[in-house]
Symmetry: C2
Subunit: 518 residues, 2 copies
Amino acid sequence: MATTAKYGIFELSLEGPATGNPFTEVDLRAEFRYSNYRRTVSGFYDGGGIYKIRFMPDREGQWHYSTIANEGRLDGQEGSFICTPALPACHGPVRVQGRFHFAYDDGEPYFPYGTTAYNWTNQETDIVAQTMETLAHNRFNKVRYGPFPKHYLYNKNEPLLYPFVGGFVEGVADASEVAMPGFIGGKPSAAYQFDFSRPNPAFWQQFEAYVMALDALGIESDLILFHPYDRWGFAHLSREENLLYLRYIIARLGAIKSVWWSLANEFDLFFERDEADWECYARAVEEWDAVGHLCSIHNCREPYDYSRRWISHVSIQRVDYHSHVELVHKWRERWQKPVVVDEICYEGNIDSGFGNISGEELTKRYWDVAVRGGYCTHGETYLRDDEVLWWAKGGRLTGSSPERIAFLRQINERISQIDPSPQMEWDLPWGLSGKTFRYETNSPFAPYATAADYMLCYFSFAQPAFRNFYLPEDVSYRIEIIDTWEMTITKLEGGYRGSCRVSLPGKPYIAVLFVREG
Amino acid sequence: MATTAKYGIFELSLEGPATGNPFTEVDLRAEFRYSNYRRTVSGFYDGGGIYKIRFMPDREGQWHYSTIANEGRLDGQEGSFICTPALPACHGPVRVQGRFHFAYDDGEPYFPYGTTAYNWTNQETDIVAQTMETLAHNRFNKVRYGPFPKHYLYNKNEPLLYPFVGGFVEGVADASEVAMPGFIGGKPSAAYQFDFSRPNPAFWQQFEAYVMALDALGIESDLILFHPYDRWGFAHLSREENLLYLRYIIARLGAIKSVWWSLANEFDLFFERDEADWECYARAVEEWDAVGHLCSIHNCREPYDYSRRWISHVSIQRVDYHSHVELVHKWRERWQKPVVVDEICYEGNIDSGFGNISGEELTKRYWDVAVRGGYCTHGETYLRDDEVLWWAKGGRLTGSSPERIAFLRQINERISQIDPSPQMEWDLPWGLSGKTFRYETNSPFAPYATAADYMLCYFSFAQPAFRNFYLPEDVSYRIEIIDTWEMTITKLEGGYRGSCRVSLPGKPYIAVLFVREG
């Protein structure tokens, strides 16, 4: 009998009609059964008369399936397969764990340290290869990107393939010339014509190969389903066309364990859509996604109502240019979900404020967010002569923040999930990890405090030469001074308890980690 | 006939009773007349049977005066003096000019680039001398300080003299031991006893000498009348005692042109006082101050209602640890007054967040505030073995921000008063100076903009390698790239108009100045 490893992909390939419009005329589904447990997934047309059904089994043992279709040849197909144990290092799809954090399906904690390369899959093969090489040699474990090509700054090239059948129409002025000014929210160019009822299998075969390549690298794909930076018309489909597209992408990619759904990048720049549209698409994703992948939506200005049931985690863009990191624990409180700040400005030197902060500044923001119990997403926008900016096209990373972010990830994995202390100091945020307990302090500022197995505070731009700490009297802590920029950890001699004055380097970007002894 | 230069001090010294309580029992005033213009000032007792009346004439020509007192020898004294032209470089007291800025009484613009040395006048003479030397060799033109000694971190020494008659009582435990924990808001120590109805002339003679020494250096004294950091009881006077003190200090110091009144430092840490108290003291200052010196009040947490009529300017402390500079133009709008951020954290390395930012960070905040049409105040809190921290005691400055602040002051004086542009960009604040005009832009972001004789934008922590600017088509501008940290100004060749792409250094702390040609 066929076998599929747990969290792998079981694929059923069937022959069916190649004429008419197989995307709209053929309705193919399959029910997968395991004991009294059932899941239904949609099939999809892959061109050349081939229909496919993909399914991710999450229970070891024997599974049965049967197809349901409005087409004789596709209907009533039955079979079985054995789900074998997960491959080594395969932990399944990422889920929300404990309200504010993430873990893989098998319980292994997952800490999102992602990056952004919105349109890397629509680039020339040599750049795509560079991107994968870069990702293989960095420590990012999530990439934000989507299938649709992008029409935006440093990102106006034609994709190699189009996601729908159609393309550039000869005789109309050069496509890039017909682009709307401002890049966002305008009408699509008349230079293209597509049949939005016909996804282009060649495009999707390539796209899913890239998703699976990241999967093989252990990298999650935070897939942006819609974005407004468009000249082809992909941001202007009718609701019916959008639902067809969603059903198709979910049927094709939904069985890949490492997929997340990001309903939109900057949903509020779709001036033709309102909340009812987004809620409709969200319901569709929820209905068709048999795995229950993480799902969110990303804002430009005001955040979406992240308390909506279908939203697994907050995927926010800093709303204000100045005020952001210090809000992270408040965002957690407000929405009661994990907070991932998926745009907190990129390291780079382009003209716009979203993409010209220093490596120091981005690293600082990562730490400021981490000690408040949230997560950040990286992006890089350094100008290059070839205009291959990582954030847009992938390629190479040259910034100073990635290795510092990896250093933080290492510490985060060591101390595990960080939650903000209930006693944040006005000038010093505290993150706690592990078992917590309350104690009476000797502090002149607070009679009680909460201690934990690990306590991490971060001084950000401040440069104190020392700090008075008020630890529990009856528990001893080891102290590690972390220079987050130099990536050094200095372990202080001996144990600390009660009131203690700790010398610090007197320079910015210092964190202090307290590790409970015994 | 006696002469006094305009904005100088005319002093009348009279002999009167030395017995009883001259501070409470003798009521002495004088009316000064110039044509049909009249001003009344209070006299004060200076010890040894000597009563003084001080007056700052602000009109050239002949003045007459006559005294009114409840004491025969002091009553009915009459005389005249000639007010001669102001001495060179003497421009009179600072006033509010044009709603959001300052100018001396003679119309010469004044740009507050002050520093903070709260308690410098109560230190040993060698430290006081160091302080004056430091101020003489820097470019600060205002100091925030007050007469009362301070009981706070790095500032617990006894003053050389007390402002009231009385002092330490032998037999009670060592004074510093009796200090309340937390420094603020507790009961005063029992180790002191004062007669709050008797100011100590020796103290005030010394204090006013220091105020006049700064005056001679061209430095304004932003005098803090009350502060809560106290172990002697000076923060716990009754309302009647406070009014007596206010009348005394105003009579003594009110004729010094460079005095400002800061009703309180951190008024909201006086837990025994409410708004009615502050309003009462404000009315008293207003009534007794014949010059109409600038007057404000300074918060710790929530700001005072700066729209009150008696408040000349906003003297705010950043309310939030992270969110401050970006609010300055909103504070201007809210209160319709000049905004001086009198605490925006100090350059230093002490443990508390108010005093451990870097010189880079403080310089950055100065620029971020300046382009939004506000002003900042400096302070320095570097640890020293002798614990003489500038912010507390004066002494020496060792930080990196003072020379950068002086560099900004130089540019501010060159381009004069800066107001925020009505078209702030989300990632770039713009300050305008001189004549403004609206124009149609080629910008994809804004159809109209406001130009001016000088336009200054500041990139703060951003590090763009270039920026597209959308200048007027019909006016030419010279462009200067200012490295605010290196203190260099690079003038670009030729004139700029319309849309232009300007290369920038690609590092933080860069400002760009546009100077209208012709």
